[in-house]
C-alpha cells in the first residue's frame, strides 16, 4: 500500500510542546536500544529476526524498527512484561526460547532447513500451522502452539513493533501529546501538528500540508 502519510515523521515533534522531558528520555533510549545478549542463542535470534519480518514487516520507505531489540528488552525489563500467563505456558522468557526452538524444529521437519532460510510463502504457511495448532514437531509437546501464538508470539511482537515512532509515523498517529494535547477533536479536523493524510484529489498535496506537522 502506498504511504498514506508521506513526509510525516512524528520525531519532528520531539522538541515541541507535544513531548515532555520524560517522553524524550524514553523515546531517545528506545531509538538507541541495541539487542540484549545472553538471553537467546544465535540460532534463536536468527529465527526471531525472520519471524519478526513475517509478523510485522517493515514498510520499505520507513525508518527501520528495532523490533528484535525491543522484544528482547521485554524479556529482561521487569516493567515491560505483563506478569500473567495462562496455565500451560511458562514465563515469557522461557516460552520464547522454547517457541523459537519449536519453530526452527518445525521448519527442519517440514522443509529440511531452518526457518530463517524459508521463502516467504513457506514461512507464512508454517506460521499459520502454529496459529491453527496443526504443527508436527515434537518440541511443541513442551509448548501448546495456539497458546504460544495468541498469548506470546503475536502480542509480544506487535507490542514491540508498534512501540517505535517509525510505526507511528506510518499510521499517521499524532504520537506523544503532553503537555500540548489537541484542540480540534471533530471528524476531519486536524491540529497543525497532526499528520495530513494523502489525498490525491486535494489541491495541496500531503507533503506540503505536512510541513507544519511539528
Amino acid at each position: 500500500m502506498a504511504d498514506r502519510f508521506p513526509d510525516y515523521d512524528v520525531l519532528t515533534q520531539r522538541d515541541t510542546p507535544s513531548w515532555n522531558a520524560a517522553t524524550r528520555e524514553v523515546i531517545d533510549a528506545r531509538l538507541r536500544l541495541g539487542e540484549a545478549t545472553g538471553l537467546l542463542t544465535a540460532v534463536q535470534i536468527a529465527t526471531l529476526r525472520a519471524l519478526a519480518e513475517r509478523i510485522v514487516p517493515q514498510p520499505e520507505q520507513r525508518a527501520p524498527v528495532n523490533t528484535v531489540a525491543l522484544l528482547l528488552a521485554s524479556l529482561t525489563d521487569a516493567t515491560a512484561g505483563e506478569g500473567y500467563r495462562p496455565a500451560g505456558l511458562p514465563p515469557a522468557r522461557e516460552a520464547w526460547a522454547r517457541g523459537l526452538d519449536a519453530i526452527e524444529a518445525e521448519a527442519r521437519l517440514v522443509h529440511g532447513r531452518g526457518f530463517a532460510a524459508l521463502p516467504p510463502e513457506a514461512a507464512d504457511t508454517l506460521l499459520a500451522a502454529i496459529e491453527n495448532g496443526t504443527v508436527r514437531a515434537c518440541e511443541w509437546q513442551q509448548l501448546p502452539p495456539r497458546l504460544f501464538w495468541s498469548w506470546r508470539l503475536l502480542p509480544d511482537l506487535v507490542a514491540a513493533y508498534f512501540a517505535h515512532p517509525s510505526a507511528w509515523s506510518a499510521m499517521g498517529f499524532g504520537g506523544p501529546a503532553s503537555p500540548r494535547g489537541y484542540v480540534r477533536l471533530a471528524a476531519d479536523r486536524r491540529d497543525p501538528w497532526e499528520a495530513a493524510e494523502r489525498d490525491d484529489g486535494r489541491l495541496l498535496p500531503a507533503p506540503f500540508r505536512n510541513r507544519h506537522a511539528r
Binding site: V26, I27, V56, P57, T79, Y84, A87, A159, W168, M171
Partner: protein, 548 residues
C-alpha cells in the same frame, strides 16, 4: 524523570511526593511500627486511598501501604504505552479456566493510587435496582445496602472528583447536575451519539473524572488521549491526586513500595497488624484495625496467604467464599471503517455513552445490563486488537494499521453474574517476595453469551447507521475485577457485612471491588469510592458507640 521511584521509597523521612510539583514534597506524619495505629490499610486505590483520606480526616491514625511506586505524574509520566507499563500489576499470576482472563494493563494497577492512575475515568452510578437484583430483577444476590444511601455517597464522590458530565442524565432517578460541564465530543463519540439516535435511544456525554475546568492545583484536560496509560498533566482525578493529598494533609501516612504479605492474628481472634516487605526486608506494623483494599485478586490472595492455625482456610473465610464469585465485566466491541478521519487518539477514550440496556429489561433473553461507549485505542492496544481479535498479521496488519485514523468502534461494559466456580486461589509457585502467587480461574456462562450476542448486534446496528463499513467483532475481551469477598446479610453466605467488616474477624475490613455482590453493567470505580466513603462513616459511627 526520576527512575528511583521503583527502587527507593519516596514516602519516608517525614515527607511524601507533592504530586503537583516536579521534585516537590509535602510533609507526612509518620508512625512507629511498635505503635498500634488505628488503621493499617493495604492498598491505596479507589477503595483504600479514599478510605485513608476519610478516616484520617475523622481523626484516626492511619498507615496506608501500597506495593507500587509513588509517582509525580508531571515529571514521571511519558506519553508512551510501553514505558507506562510501570503502572500495571505485572507480578506473576496464572490465569486458567475455559476463558482465561487478561490482566496487567487491562485491570490491574500497581502504584500509589492503584488502578485509578490508569483507569479510563468513566464514573457511573449503578442502577438502583442492582442493589436488590435478586428481589427486583430475579437474578444474582441482593446488596445489604439501600440504593438511596448509595445515592448520597455517589454525590459526595462526584463532588470530590469534580466529575464532568451532562446537565441532565437520561437514565435512572433524578440526580444532581454534575459538578463540572461535560467535555466536547470527539469524532468517535459523535458516531455513538448519531447511532444511538438512529436506533431510537438516548445517549449522553460520559460522566468522566477528568477536569473540564481548573480544580485546585490541577489544570483542565488538554485532550491528549493517553488517559489509560496515566495522565501526565494531572487533569485526571485519580486517587493519587485527589484523596491522597487530602489524606496526607489530615495526617495519614503512606508507605510506597511496601508489599503486605500476611495479616498477623492474635490469640483473641483479632488481627494485630501486618507483615510487609519494604527496602529488602520483612517488617511488622501493629494496628488496632486492618483494612484489605487490594482489589479482587490481591485481596483474596492476602486473606488466603494469611492462613494460621486458628483460620487454616484463610482469614474471613468461614463461609468458604473468599476468592469465589469473581466477576469481570464483558468488554466486547464492534469496529468499522468510515470515510472521514476519526483520529480517535484525541481526547479521553470514552466521551459518549449509551446506558439504555442497563435500564431497559424488555426483550432481553438474559439477566443483567450493559452499557457501551465510544473508543480511542492507542497504537499497541489497537494492533493487539487487530492481531488477536481479528487475526491479522504480516502485511495485512501493517496495512490495516495505516488506516487507523478512519477506524471507529463501540465497546460494551456488560454484567457478569456471580458464579462460585469463578475464583482466585493460590498456586504452587511463589513470587519475588516468596509469597504464593494467585491463580485466577474464569469461565463465561450462557447468560453472558446471550448478552454479548445482543450487545454486538445492537452496537453493529449503531455503526451501520452512521456509515461504518467493513465491520468486525472483537469477541473475547473483559475488564474490571470484582466480587471475591462479597458483602451480605449473614456469615454463611458472605464474607463481610454491610459495613464491609468481616464476619469472622471483628477488626478486619475489606474496602474495594471485592465486596461487590453483583457488578452491574457500569464501570465500578465510582461505586468503590462511594462504598469507601460509606464505610468511613460507618466506622466513625461504630467508634462513637464504642463498637469498633
Amino acid at each position: 524523570m526520576r527512575a528511583d521511584a521503583l527502587t527507593t521509597p519516596r514516602a519516608a523521612n517525614g515527607r511524601a511526593p507533592d504530586v503537583f510539583e516536579p521534585g516537590g514534597w509535602v510533609p507526612m506524619r509518620e508512625h512507629r511500627e511498635q505503635d498500634e495505629v488505628d488503621f493499617a490499610i493495604v492498598g491505596t486505590g479507589a477503595g483504600g486511598g479514599t478510605l485513608a483520606c476519610k478516616l484520617a480526616e475523622a481523626g484516626f491514625s492511619v498507615v496506608a501501604f501500597d506495593a507500587g511506586a509513588y509517582w509525580r505524574p508531571l515529571e514521571d509520566f511519558a506519553s508512551d504505552e510501553r514505558h507506562q507499563a510501570k503502572l500495571y500489576w505485572t507480578d506473576d499470576r496464572i490465569v486458567d479456566g475455559p476463558d482465561p482472563l487478561k490482566l496487567g494493563s487491562n485491570n490491574s494497577g500497581k502504584s500509589v493510587g492503584g488502578s485509578t492512575v490508569h483507569f479510563a475515568m468513566v464514573s457511573l452510578r449503578f442502577r438502583p435496582e442492582w442493589f436488590k437484583s435478586r428481589t427486583k430483577l430475579g437474578y444474582g444476590v441482593d446488596w445489604p445496602i439501600d440504593w438511596r444511601e448509595m445515592w448520597r455517597y455517589y454525590a459526595e464522590v462526584e463532588e470530590a472528583l469534580k466529575i464532568a458530565g451532562p446537565v441532565r442524565y437520561p437514565w435512572g432517578p433524578k440526580r444532581p447536575r454534575y459538578p463540572y460541564r461535560a467535555h466536547p465530543l470527539n469524532a468517535a463519540a459523535e458516531h455513538l451519539a448519531r447511532g444511538a439516535e438512529a436506533l431510537g435511544t438516548d445517549w449522553a456525554e460520559t460522566p468522566i473524572a477528568t477536569l473540564s475546568a481548573p480544580h485546585g492545583k490541577a489544570h483542565p484536560c488538554v485532550y491528549r488521549g493517553m488517559c489509560v496509560i496515566g495522565c501526565s498533566t494531572n487533569a485526571k482525578q485519580s486517587v493519587l491526586v485527589t484523596w491522597l493529598p487530602r489524606a496526607l494533609a489530615a495526617g495519614a501516612e503512606i508507605r510506597d513500595l511496601a508489599m503486605v504479605g500476611r495479616i498477623e492474628m492474635g490469640p483473641n481472634g483479632r488481627a494485630t497488624g501486618v507483615h510487609y516487605h519494604r527496602e529488602g526486608e520483612w517488617r511488622f506494623q501493629r494496628a488496632k484495625n486492618v483494612v484489605v483494599a487490594g482489589y479482587a485478586i490481591e485481596t483474596p490472595r492476602l486473606l488466603l496467604n494469611s492462613a494460621c492455625s486458628r483460620f487454616p482456610d484463610g482469614l474471613a473465610n468461614r463461609s468458604g467464599l473468599v476468592g469465589r464469585n469473581l466477576m469481570v465485566q464483558l468488554n466486547q466491541a464492534v469496529w468499522g471503517q468510515v470515510d472521514e478521519e476519526i483520529r480517535s487518539y484525541k481526547g479521553p477514550p470514552s466521551l459518549a455513552i449509551n446506558e439504555h440496556w442497563n435500564y431497559a429489561d424488555a426483550g432481553k433473553d438474559y439477566h443483567g445490563g450493559w452499557a457501551y461507549m465510544s473508543q480511542g485505542p492507542l497504537p499497541i492496544s489497537w494492533a493487539r486488537s487487530l492481531s488477536g481479535g481479528r487475526g491479522l498479521w504480516g502485511r495485512a496488519l501493517i496495512d490495516e494499521m495505516a488506516r487507523s485514523n478512519h477506524s471507529v468502534g463501540l465497546k460494551m461494559v456488560g454484567e457478569v453474574l456471580p458464579y462460585a466456580h469463578n475464583r482466585v486461589t493460590l498456586a504452587d509457585e511463589t513470587d519475588q517476595y516468596g509469597l504464593p502467587i494467585p491463580r485466577v480461574t474464569f469461565a463465561i456462562g450462557d447468560n453472558e453469551r446471550r448478552m454479548v450476542a445482543h450487545a454486538l448486534d445492537f452496537m453493529e446496528a449503531s455503526l451501520e447507521a452512521t456509515g461504518a463499513r467493513e465491520r468486525w467483532r472483537e469477541t473475547d475481551d473483559t475488564c474490571h475485577l470484582n466480587g471475591t469477598a462479597r458483602m451480605g446479610f449473614d456469615p454463611e453466605t458472605s464474607v463481610v457485612d454491610a459495613d464491609c467488616r468481616s464476619w469472622d474477624v471483628p477488626n478486619l475490613w475489606i474496602c474495594d471491588g471485592s465486596v461487590f455482590p453483583t457488578v452491574g453493567g457500569a464501570n465500578p470505580s465510582l461505586t468503590i469510592q462511594a462504598l469507601a466513603c460509606r464505610t468511613a462513616d460507618r466506622i466513625k459511627e461504630l467508634s462513637r458507640r464504642g463498637a469498633l
